[in-house]
Amino acid sequence: MSVEARATRAPFAYHHELLLLIVLVLVVGFLAVGTDKFLTVDNMLNQGRLMTEVALVALPMTFIIITGGIDLSVGSIMGLAAIMLGVAWKNFGLPLELAIVFSVAVGAVAGFFNGLLIIRVRVPPLIMTLATLALYRGLAEGISQARSVRGYPEWFFVLGQGEVFGVPTQLWILLVAIIIFWIVLAKTTFGRSLYAIGYNEEAARFSGIPVDRIKLIIYSLSGTMAGLAGYIFVSRVSTTRSDMGTGLELDAIAAVVLGGTSIFGGVGTIAGTVIGFTLIQLLKNGLALSGVKGDATIVVIGTVLILSILVSNFLQRRRGAGG
């Protein structure tokens, strides 16, 4: 089943990524001609720093969407993890190192809870994560009592604001994460199972794939990455707030679907997602540097999102019903 799924779907993914890559190159070229501030090493590295949180969340989101699921609670998990980092350090008196581990673990538990109810009670992922979107944000607000935790020691900021070998620290983490996610999806049985589940869940179950266990893993993974993104964000901005990560879920989903992952499951690649979030970030940045204002920029991004999928679909002339 899984082999068949990949065989029929692979050409689509290939074409879409190629198309996106061409769009990306064109956009970069066009923007670079428009302003000499855009295509510089400094600016590119800096953009990498700014997009790391969304990118880290978009990677596991790709896995989840490939299985036909979705996770809307990632922004709230990021906020909850950020708050727990501060609270664990200031109020529980944990050493900061442990508080960091604790906050990422909170993210993992939050994701695990999503996964558990999705597989055990069979709550549809959209409903489950819509409910926990409210719940986790609510917990962040309740626990923080609207107070921010500040005053971290210098070493804490190395991850969010520092550099290693001239490259923003968090970009190294992102790079490692991209490689791992890419290998897992493209080269392992686990990755193939994700496609099989998304293509036809019942068939996947019958062919012996541990569907429930895999789902539990990917939702936990999504929570963990959101927790990690929370830690990186706190390190970048030096403070915690319960409203951190608001709207993150839509940014991540936009990157994933722009990257060619089908919202119906069964189709998608990490390369597509990587091009997706890079394209969005560089468009935002390049347009701003060319003097386009923010409100016009989001109009452009909305249009690019629709058009790129439109053109991609047109090129491969897929037949199918609406929806």
């Binding site: 302003t35 707030r241 951190m244 540097l289």
Partner: protein, 367 residues
């Protein structure tokens, strides 16, 4: 079905019981400094300059400069008004170009990205209204480090992350105006509630803390019922105000609106409940949004500084910094039609006292 009923009932009861305690006002933890109950001006302790400094800024004294203004968010009336003030100042000065750009939601991450982009683009100065005083600091320091002048207005950052901050009115001054206004309308033993934006919005939390301190010392018999959150959403503000009216009935003598969205919505709720004259509405708001309620007499008066003047002053201050007319240690700065503005609190420039508009002058303003 029975099990279901039990689940829901116990959840409701448990959460209700567990969380019912802990009455809460909405202020922050910072020390308060309430003004005297009469009109004695507050004593301001002299403080050394505590702002930051640019490194390697080009001398553009008298030359044309390009400024970028990043408010908390774009697409709301209040910041449209500050933008208008900036435009006026730029037009008067003739050698300033200022553009406003920013996030469509009051989001700290987006605001940082916007500033970062303009620092890369290379402007002569950044004007900002911070969504979070600490989170915005690193990117502002980066701007200072690249020789870009940084002046805040409306919502401050950590002092060392910017050179100057144009303060629309001291927190304790706003608090005194609001509480005195409310006391005048509902009496010294009146009961009131508050509709604010979110508990994490720094300005609102600061005002509420100062209001509480001032009320306790100057109007000790007034009763503080509760504070509710309503984002920056006018129907939600309307619903929350309605809920307060329904909950307290005749016990509710007044509602404070802490934002330019909450105040008109609270006035609307009072109007539609037919409670004009029984429940007073006092708050911060812009004249355009309040006009129907002030004209109908449902709202007696509204407290505000002029956001147009605030934006106007911010551009003048920036020009003075670039021209070398405002340096650490100075005590005042020339700001066009506003005359000389005082430097307070180390590195803040005070726009003036908040003013109160009512039926007689609400039509003199358009913002």
């Amino acid at each position: 079905m029975k099990r279901l009923a039990i689940i829901i009932a116990t959840t409701t009861a448990l959460t209700g019981a567990a969380l019912a305690a802990d009455p809460w006002d909405g202020g922050d933890d910072l020390p308060t400094n309430p003004l005297a109950c009469d009109d004695t001006p507050g004593t301001v302790a002299a403080k050394d300059y505590d702002g930051g400094q640019t490194t390697g800024a080009a001398d553009k004294s008298g030359k044309e400069i390009t400024l970028i203004d990043i408010p908390k968010l774009v697409g709301v009336g209040y910041f449209a008004a500050t933008t208008e003030g900036m435009r006026q100042a730029a037009e008067e000065l003739g050698n300033v170009k200022v553009t406003t750009d920013g996030p469509t939601e009051a989001n700290i991450d987006d605001q940082i990205t916007f500033i970062d982009n303009y620092v890369t683009q290379g402007v002569d100065g950044v004007l900002f209204a911070a969504n979070d005083p600490v989170a915005i600091a690193p990117v502002l320091k980066k701007a200072l480090g690249k020789g870009i002048h940084v002046v805040g207005y409306d919502a401050n950052s950590d002092p060392d992350a910017r050179e100057w901050f144009v303060n629309q009115a001291e927190f304790n001054g706003i608090a005194k105006s609001l509480i005195d206004q409310m006391a005048a309308e509902i009496g010294d033993e009146g009961k009131f509630a508050i509709v604010t934006s979110t508990f994490t919005t720094p300005n609102q939390a600061r005002w509420i803390a100062e209001m509480q301190a001032y009320q306790e010392s100057c109007h000790p018999k007034m009763e503080w019922l509760e504070t509710v959150e309503a984002q920056e959403d006018n129907i939600l503000s309307f619903n929350q105000a309605n809920t307060l009216i329904n909950k307290y009935g005749d016990d509710l003598d007044g509602i404070f609106g802490m934002t330019s969205v909450a105040t008109p919505a609270a006035a609307e709720a009072v109007t539609q409940a037919g409670a004009c004259g029984e429940t007073a509405v006092v708050g911060l708001a812009t004249p355009n949004a309040m006009r129907p309620y002030v004209e109908s007499g449902c709202v007696k008066s509204v407290v505000l500084w002029s956001p147009v003047d605030l934006g106007y002053a911010a551009v003048y201050v920036m020009r003075a910094v670039v021209d070398g007319d405002l340096s650490p240690g100075d005590t005042e700065v020339e700001a066009g039609r506003l005359g000389k503005l005082q430097v307070v609190n180390g590195s803040e420039i005070l726009l003036g006292s908040p003013f109160v508009f009512d039926k007689s002058n609400v039509n003199d303003f358009d913002f």
